[in-house]
């Protein structure tokens, strides 16, 4: 059996779904951020896989993966900063405590 694009894509799909699962079922805000990181990594795998199997001359997928990493780092930094600011107000990392949007 030859290792092909499909395997990587399936791996990325599994990882992505795990990320979504984590985002939805977690109650700890830090865990939600962790899950988002997992989803971003799944996307990175996809990019790298396509770059490898389709576009090795220019490796655009890898360039994009680098951009994603940078943005992900920015996102996690800001997310945690906001988390800490919120924690200073409510002393809780439970997402159920942040429901002031309730309609």
């Amino acid at each position: 059996m030859e290792l092909g694009l499909v395997h990587y894509l399936i791996l990325a799909a599994i990882l992505f779904c795990i990320g979504i699962l984590g985002v939805i079922i977690s109650r700890n805000i830090i865990k939600i951020l962790i899950s988002i990181e997992i989803m971003l990594n799944a996307v990175n795998i996809n990019f790298a896989a396509f770059a490898n199997f389709g576009d090795l001359d220019e490796a655009k997928g890898q360039v994009f993966a680098i951009f994603i990493m940078a943005v992900a780092a920015a996102e996690i930094a800001l997310g945690l900063a906001i988390l800490i600011a919120c924690y200073n107000n409510r002393h809780s990392v439970d997402i159920e405590d942040y429901t002031s949007l309730k309609g």
């Binding site: 979504i20 985002v23 939805i24 079922i25 939600i32 997402i95 159920e96 942040y98 429901t99 002031s100 949007l101 309730k102 309609g103």
Partner: protein, 645 residues
């Protein structure tokens, strides 16, 4: 001259503008000064009066003037609704009558209402009425006429209930409005039925929908489409509107109660102009009515019956305004009667003359009531001629006129009677003559009770102001001479007689060569005068013996019938209590439990659906995410299904 004809819209537009000015001026506390309201009202009416005079002379000089201008309002492909103004001889005559009487009554109202708290409100209503009446007169089509017809009804309602903190006034206003609604319902059904049966004609002809000018052709088509029986009911429906507005039997009961309004209103609306709107609409719809002979006969008999019944009621009324109200009713009956037998010109002639002298009579009664501190009962009046001679003599002129003894009433009533005579309606002629006798009797009775003899009241008398007496004197002039001017014996203002000016079909001017009828009616009126004099004039009292007591004893049932207004109100009350209320209560069960139940079900189900959906909005971000993803997946699956299957 052309200017006035082309800008006739100014006549109703100015009162509308004044109405809005007074309304907002008061509501926004722009001014307090009463003279501003008066100036706005009377000024707008005065300009309208000037316009009307010029238009009247234009119409006199240019025979067959028929100036119509339509502004397109709604244009469906086939049918055109429009609003516009129509000036012909009839409209010109009505314009002059309405504006002149309104002007004088507005001046008079200033004196009458000066101490009232609702002065500005009163003038706002007054000018609103003026607007709607003038617009009704100038209407080009039945739809527009219906709109302003209702507006006239509304302003009448507002003015009857002007002193709304009096329960009786509020009741009277409601009664007038509801009874007019009955009539308007008939009118609306009639209009819609007429439209229904002649819709094709309007669509093909591309005329303005329901315009008066071509109503006759559409009506004859409707006659063909609907058949004579249905068409008869259609015209009866149309007739119901004027019957209610002009207070004819069986919808006449509101007019006497409407006397709860301020007296100037009684004079303006419930004697001179608004009640004449019914007759005016009959005149406008004459081409349609004419196609149904049965309806014309019914119209004539309704008019005759009203004239007779109202006169008998008026005989025993002791309230001076009620007495005048029933006499109005009776005179309107004359007009409808004349319309019904085909005496188109005679009916409108009587409308015009009656408007002047009845307005004057009401203003006189208003002056009396005002001077006696709101005393309306004639039993507590008497001997007022010496205290207020101007009012007494103008009242006398009005009395003579309405009795048909002298002045304008003689000529117009004479025209109706002679039409009856030439048409061969002998039974109606007899009724009309008896009514004329009774008219003379009760009018002189009221005159004698009010102005002659000794003062029987206790209220302190104070003289009416000049603002109130001047309109009386001015009104006395047309009351006295209009009949003579238009009688056909003079040629003062360019037309020989009224029926050569306002006529239907072709001018039919008959010379009154037969002197039998005028003399007969004069004698009858004189008899009425004498009878009233014998009974109520103290100077003649010594002449009669006590035999009247015996007569009185035998006529008690008749007396009761008259005093109780022929039990119309009691009959209606019983009807409502034992027939209409049970039925409506029965129907209301359906309304309450089925209709309301359904509506409430809708409301409640919406509420709970909303609550169910709002569970999603629990403020938790993850729930939103789940919802979004689920919808996303659903959309994807849907697209798959669409493209694969």
């Amino acid at each position: 001259m052309e200017f006035f004809i082309n800008n006739v819209w100014i006549i109703p537009a100015l009162p509308l503008w004044s109405f809005l000015s007074i309304l907002f001026g008061r509501a926004l506390n722009v001014y307090e000064n009463k003279y501003i309201s008066l100036a706005l009202t009377a000024g707008s009416t005065f300009i309208g009066f000037i316009f009307s005079i010029f238009i009247l002379f234009y119409c006199i000089n240019n025979a067959g003037t028929n100036h119509q201008y339509d502004i397109l309002w709604l244009d469906t492909r086939d049918l055109k609704f429009s609003i516009g103004w129509l000036v012909d001889n009839l409209a010109a005559m009505m314009l002059v009558v309405v504006t002149s009487i309104s002007l004088l009554i507005q001046v008079y109202s200033h004196g009458y209402m000066e101490q009232d708290k609702g002065y500005h409100r009163f003038f706002a209503y007054l000018v609103l009425f003026n607007f709607s009446m003038l617009a009704l007169v100038l209407s080009t089509n039945l739809f527009q006429a219906y709109i302003f017809w209702e507006l006239v009804g509304v302003s009448s309602y507002l003015l009857i209930g002007f002193w709304f903190n009096r329960p009786s006034a509020a009741q009277a206003a409601k009664k007038a409005f509801i009874i007019n609604r009955i009539g308007d319902f008939g009118l609306l059904v009639g209009i819609l039925a007429l439209l229904f049966y002649s819709l094709n004609w309007w669509a093909n002809s591309q005329n303005t929908l329901l315009e008066f000018a071509t109503l006759g052709q559409a009506g004859s088509l409707a006659l063909v489409n609907a058949g004579p029986v249905l068409f008869g009911f259609l015209t009866l429906g149309l007739l119901l509107g004027p019957i209610a507005k002009s207070a004819q039997i069986p919808l006449h009961t509101w007019l006497a109660d409407a006397m709860e309004g301020p007296t100037p209103i009684s004079a303006l609306i419930h004697a001179a102009t608004m009640v004449a709107a019914g007759v005016y609409l009959i005149a406008r719809l004459y081409p349609v009515f004419e196609l149904s002979p049965q309806t014309m006969t019914i119209m004539a008999w309704v008019g005759g019956a009203t004239a007779f019944v109202a006169a008998t009621i008026a005989i025993t009324q002791t309230d001076i305004k009620k007495c005048l109200a029933y006499s109005t009713c009776s005179q309107l009956g004359y007009m409808i009667l004349a319309m019904g037998i085909g005496a188109y010109s005679a009916g409108l002639f009587h409308l015009m003359t009656h408007a002047y002298f009845k307005a004057m009579l009401f203003l006189c009664s208003g002056a009396v009531i005002h001077s006696l501190a709101d005393q309306q009962n004639m039993k507590y009046m008497g001997g007022l001629r010496k205290k207020m001679p101007i009012v007494a003599y103008t009242y006398l002129i009005g009395t003579l006129a309405i009795s048909g003894l002298l002045f304008s009433g003689f000529w117009s009533k004479e025209a109706i009677l002679s039409s009856l005579y030439t048409q061969g309606e002998n039974l109606l002629l007899v009724i009309a003559l008896i009514t004329a006798f009774m008219t003379a009797y009760y009018m002189f009775r009221s005159y004698f009770m009010t102005f002659e003899g000794e003062y029987r009241g206790h209220a302190r008398f104070h003289k009416p102001s000049k603002v109130m007496t001047m309109p009386l004197i001015i009104l006395a002039v047309p009351s006295a001479i209009t009949g003579f001017i238009f009688s056909g014996n003079l040629n003062l203002i360019g037309i020989k007689s009224f029926d050569s000016f306002v006529f239907y079909g072709h001018a039919l001017h008959e010379a009154h060569t037969d002197l039998f009828l005028p003399i007969c009616s004069l004698i009858i009126a004189l008899l009425g005068f004498l009878l009233a004099g014998i009974i109520y004039w103290d100077k003649l009292k010594s002449l009669y013996c006590n035999c009247f007591d015996a007569i009185q004893r035998y006529t008690i049932p008749l007396y009761r019938l008259s005093v109780n207004k022929w039990y119309f109100d009691d009959f209606y009350n019983l009807l409502i209590k034992y027939l209409i209320l049970p039925i409506s209560e029965f129907i209301s069960i359906f309304d309450k439990y089925i209709i309301d139940g359904f509506v409430n079900l809708c409301g409640i189900s919406t509420l709970y659906k909303g609550k169910a959906i709002s569970l999603l909005q629990n403020g938790n971000v993850q729930t939103y995410l789940v919802t979004a993803l689920l919808s996303f997946i659903a959309v994807i699956i849907l697209i798959f299904l669409i493209f694969i299957i």
